[in-house]
């Protein structure tokens, strides 16, 4: 009986999370036969979120407990990877300005390929964040990590954008990838990195 109750609750949560994310995809708008007014799907997404305690106060123990259980079981996110379509790739370029007028360019990097994939995920996450202060906080951290490698730079300009890769037909016609700049942030530094300088 306990197993059956757990089973029912577990799959109810999975179903709600999956539906919420599917409604979210639909609310963001898709082309094709399933196109509907976005408000309808947004409302459906809100209802699904409410089923997961989304309308309760953040400190509410039910909401906290549900969110914790979802994290424990790895069911906090839906499964719409690369759906309804594969998004454009994000790109971040650092423009390092030195006191003598030199300008160098750098990309975010990591030691291994596995960490490289994770940094690519981070950049895609930045693209998805609509909350500007959070986006800026992440970019500040990225800029600071690069500045630690180039402590003589007096200014680092972080240029964030998306890479538009051509479609197969466009590629055949000779079109190549293009870069659309979305946000630019300038960070000025005075001395070598120390705890106090950390943005």
């Amino acid at each position: 009986m306990i197993c059956a109750a757990w089973f029912a609750l577990h799959f109810l949560l999975i179903a709600i999370v999956c539906l919420r994310d599917t409604f979210s995809s639909l609310a963001q708008g898709v082309s094709g036969p399933a196109s509907r007014p976005n408000e309808l799907w947004s409302e459906a997404e809100t209802i699904a979120s409410a089923g997961l305690g989304g309308t309760l106060a953040a400190a509410n123990p039910v909401r906290q407990g549900l969110a914790a259980y979802e994290n424990f079981a790895g069911i906090e996110a839906g499964y719409g990877y690369f759906a309804p379509s594969v998004p454009s790739s994000s790109k971040l370029v650092f423009e390092l300005h030195y006191a003598d007028g030199r300008v160098e360019y750098e990309l975010p990097h990591a030691g291994g390929a596995a960490a490289g994939y994770r940094i690519a995920t981070l950049l895609d996450n930045i693209q998805r964040f609509h909350y500007a202060p959070l986006r800026e906080a992440i970019l500040k951290t990225l800029v600071y990590s690069i500045w630690q490698e180039h402590p003589d730079a007096v200014m680092v300009r972080a240029i964030f954008g998306v890479v538009n890769f051509p479609s197969a037909a466009e590629f055949r016609a000779g079109t190549r990838e293009s870069y659309d700049q979305l946000y630019t942030y300038n960070y000025r530094f005075r001395s070598r990195p120390s705890r106090a300088d950390a943005p």
Partner: protein, 325 residues
């Protein structure tokens, strides 16, 4: 109503051998070992609180705290370590080592239950403390580790079984836990397939093209791919049908093996062409654990247990039928 309940019980608690559990344990042991090794040089860089890496750990943990304060994270370990006089660097290395040791124990099946719990705990800590850097593979590995942690361990291929000579596990319990994994995979593929189907890009091959050429996944050169561009819409439709049809065709006896083979091939190709090796491995492991037929026959003890359960179920059914007559 009682009959429905009995049928549901029969479906959920069907007797099964522990072969699937061996696949899950060994597969997850391998997965977590490879995960730990793949990040060995970047572990401190990615999870340090100060901004040495691409993103501060405290930022990920602050976002996590806004959802729930109950989820494990590396910050807890670092705080605990500081009480013992350990620096953040040492605590992070200790966490990495614990994860590696737990995964190796899972591989051989030594102290299965504690190893499964520790592997789940440390994996969850790392994933949640680096939530901004995590992607699909982390979700699926957490799902697998969660199910392994609550599964009836040890299995007969583990060192624990050979050393402690454990009593046979109720095949009904084994069947129940496998059913949970099977149904979860059906949810995963169904919703993944449906979300792909609602857009037009998977039907005309645009998404396949973009997935294969998009950095950092673009391992194949676009010049090579463009020669076979007529296959792109077919590949897209194939993926949509394979995923959406999974919850139906994986249950039909005749289509189960070809469907399983196709989905395993799909993940193998994803790993090969997009460089998502760990993602491919975890999906193959979960699929094989859930739906691969038992390649080795059950032991005499398990068969006896199964026969006893079958006899009890038949007797109960007869009693109910007689009662209703």
């Amino acid at each position: 109503m009682r009959r429905i309940w009995q049928r549901l019980q029969g479906f959920l608690f069907y007797p099964d051998s522990d072969r699937w559990l061996s696949i899950l344990r060994i597969g997850l042991g391998l997965q977590v070992t490879l995960y730990a090794f793949s990040l060995r040089h970047d572990w401190s860089y990615l999870f340090a609180a100060e901004a040495r890496g691409p993103v501060r750990r405290v930022l990920s943990e602050a976002i996590l705290s806004s959802e729930t304060r109950l989820t494990p994270r590396l910050g807890w370990l670092v705080t605990g370590g500081s009480y013992l006089g350990a620096t953040e660097e040492i605590t992070l290395k200790f966490a990495w080592l614990c994860l590696l040791v737990a995964s190796c124990c899972l591989l051989v099946g030594w102290f299965c239950r504690p190893a499964a719990v520790l592997a789940w705990f440390f994996y969850l800590c790392s994933v949640k403390s680096g939530a901004l850097l995590s992607y699909g593979v982390d979700n699926f590995t957490t799902i697998g580790l969660f199910y392994l942690m609550i599964a009836p361990l040890p299995d007969r291929l583990s060192v624990d079984w050979k050393v402690w000579r454990s009593i046979p596990i109720d095949p009904g319990r084994l069947g129940f836990h496998r059913r949970v994994l099977q149904l979860h995979l059906c949810f995963i593929y169904f919703f993944s397939g449906c979300t792909k189907c609602i857009g037009s890009d998977w039907w005309n091959g645009a998404s396949v093209w973009r997935a294969l050429t998009r950095p950092p996944f673009g391992l194949l050169s676009p010049e090579l791919l463009i020669r076979f561009d007529y296959l792109l819409p077919l590949a897209g439709i194939f993926v949509c049908l394979l995923e959406t049809g999974y919850p139906i065709f994986i249950w039909i006896k005749r289509t189960r093996k070809p469907w399983l083979a196709a989905i395993v091939c799909l993940h193998f190709l994803i790993g090969l062409t997009m460089g998502l090796y760990l993602f491919a491995l975890i999906m193959i492991v979960l699929n094989l654990a859930a739906f691969a037929p038992a390649s080795v026959p059950a032991t005499k003890k398990t068969l006896l247990f199964r026969r006893q359960r079958h006899d009890i179920a038949t007797a109960e059914r007869r009693t109910v039928e007689e009662g209703s007559a």
